[in-house]
């Protein structure tokens, strides 16, 4: 059976700088993958290439065996437009570091809008699903709140509910807790852990090494656009074989 996600020789260049230098990756169904590494290592760019918020300079991305983001025309590969990408993106959930909730909509409306306008659900159905997801993340009492009235942790949970309402095959978390005050991180990590236990396929870019080691099945350490080391948390985090991995983890624990 095809892995859920397959990335083949992915390169990404921004102007003069090459940020991703040939990434190959396979993620089977139900795997929880954590990506760690220093800033500038390309982790976020890699994640954004998966749902094509960034268009790779070269290389391919396959979801469930199907090539996404590109079409073949006369033997050459051509990137799809945002309009054509919409369908593919609906199956991938992306949780942003800065939440990116829609400020003019209540929490309920934030979660219901995509099922309504993208999946074509009726108003009642979409709102029922939204209520279910918001309750699931512990915000059943905040349906009518606007984002500005919610704490950072609450906003991020709404953002997660918003993604869940689309029933995605794959969930991507881009440093989901990095923009949160320390005391709010816990509530979000709890939700992510719960999702992990439900058997979802998840890729998490994170600085929460402890959390990663508890929740992830597999950890990847990236540096300077390349995968330096990968394996189960026991190996990569507790017993890294590469010097660079060790250096990074030591620096982090010193903070």
């Amino acid at each position: 059976m095809d892995p859920l996600l397959r990335i083949v020789d992915l390169h990404k260049r921004f102007g003069e700088t090459e940020v991703l230098c040939g990434i190959d990756l396979e993620v089977p169904r139900t795997q929880k993958l954590a990506i760690i590494g220093p800033s500038g290592s390309g982790k976020t760019t890699l994640l954004r290439c998966i749902n094509y918020l960034e268009k790779p300079t070269s290389g391919h991305v396959y979801i469930d065996g199907t090539l996404i983001g590109e079409r073949q025309r006369n033997g050459a590969y051509v990137h799809l437009s945002d309009r054509e990408l919409a369908k593919e993106r609906a199956e991938i959930g992306f949780v942003f570091q800065r939440f990116n909730l829609f400020p003019h909509l209540t929490a309920l409306a934030n979660v219901a809008i995509a099922p309504r306008r993208v999946l074509g659900l009726g108003q009642q159905e979409a709102e029922a699903r939204a209520r279910e997801m918001l309750t699931k993340v512990g915000l059943g009492h905040k349906f009518d709140a606007f984002p500005e009235r919610l704490s950072g942790g609450q906003q991020q949970r709404v953002a997660i509910a918003r993604v869940l309402a689309m029933q995605p095959k794959l969930m991507l978390f881009d440093e989901a807790t990095s923009a949160l005050d320390p005391e709010l991180i816990g509530e979000v990590l709890r939700v992510i852990r719960q999702l992990a236990e439900e058997g979802r396929t998840m890729i998490m870019v994170t600085h929460e090494i402890q959390f990663a080691s508890e929740v992830a099945d597999r950890v990847i350490f990236m540096d300077e656009g390349r995968i330096v080391e990968e394996g189960p948390p026991d190996a990569v985090i507790r017993n890294p074989s590469q010097a660079r991995t060790r250096a990074f983890l030591t620096r982090l624990s010193e903070r």
Partner: protein, 225 residues
């Protein structure tokens, strides 16, 4: 001074009703131009932010040209210029030329206003919408434009006030509005000062409520930040 004011008492009954009727013409002209300008402005703004270099360039040229010309020149080009070519359907009446001219220029002004409203929104909003699987069009319709609309209300209100005053320029191509009427009565009664001051008062009465609204909108937006 007293003599000056007594002239008003004499002629009040004949001047004011005529000028009030003409004011309605002014308001109508303003309303029509405003609607035309809003439609054009929205189109121009969307062209400006689109990825197509052709649309983007066309919008830039449109805005530069129409904002770089005096309203009077635009009106003359439409009324006398197009009218003088000899093609029947281009012979606009002065009223049509006025609406068209003010609307086209307003489209350029509002185009820039709408564009800055759209661009004021964080890129993150668009990305969030796209990653949920929305097409750019859907994202514009439900996420970007509703928010941008709120942001642009104060400058749009200010534009409306300017538009009201610009209708006066249409008197020069003899469009039926307040200034033209005032000019006509002034020449037939030989009382230019009285008539023009009266016209000024009427313009003020029309624009003042708008400026209060504009100021309230600005205050509300400032508070919401």
């Amino acid at each position: 001074m007293i003599e000056f004011l007594s002239v008003y008492r004499q002629h009040f009954g004949e001047w004011v009703p005529e000028l009030l009727v003409a004011s309605i013409g002014t308001l109508q002209l303003m309303a029509l131009s405003f609607m035309l300008a809003s439609v054009i402005g929205l189109v121009v703004a969307l062209m400006r932010v689109s990825r197509s270099t052709l649309l983007h360039a066309a919008a830039v040229v449109y805005v530069e040209v129409l904002r770089g010309l005096p309203a009077l020149v635009i009106l003359f080009l439409i009324y006398f210029g197009l009218g003088g070519i000899g093609v029947e359907w281009l012979k606009f009446t002065s009223y049509q030329a006025a609406v068209l001219g003010l609307g086209l220029q307003g489209g350029a002004v509002l185009g820039e206003v709408f564009r800055s409203g759209i661009e004021a929104l964080h890129l993150g909003q668009m990305e969030a919408a796209l990653s949920l699987g929305m097409t750019p069009a859907t994202a514009m319709r439900w996420i970007i434009l509703p928010q941008a609309g709120r942001i642009v209300l104060p400058p749009v209100a200010n534009y409306a006030i300017g538009l009201l005053k610009d209708t006066a320029v249409c008197a020069i191509i003899a469009a039926p509005e307040l200034m033209l009427r005032a000019k006509d009565i002034a020449s037939s009664s030989f009382r230019p000062m009285h008539l023009f001051v009266l016209a000024a008062v009427l313009y003020f009465i029309m624009s003042y409520p708008l400026s209060i609204v504009a100021r309230r909108l600005e205050a509300r937006l400032a508070r919401a930040r």
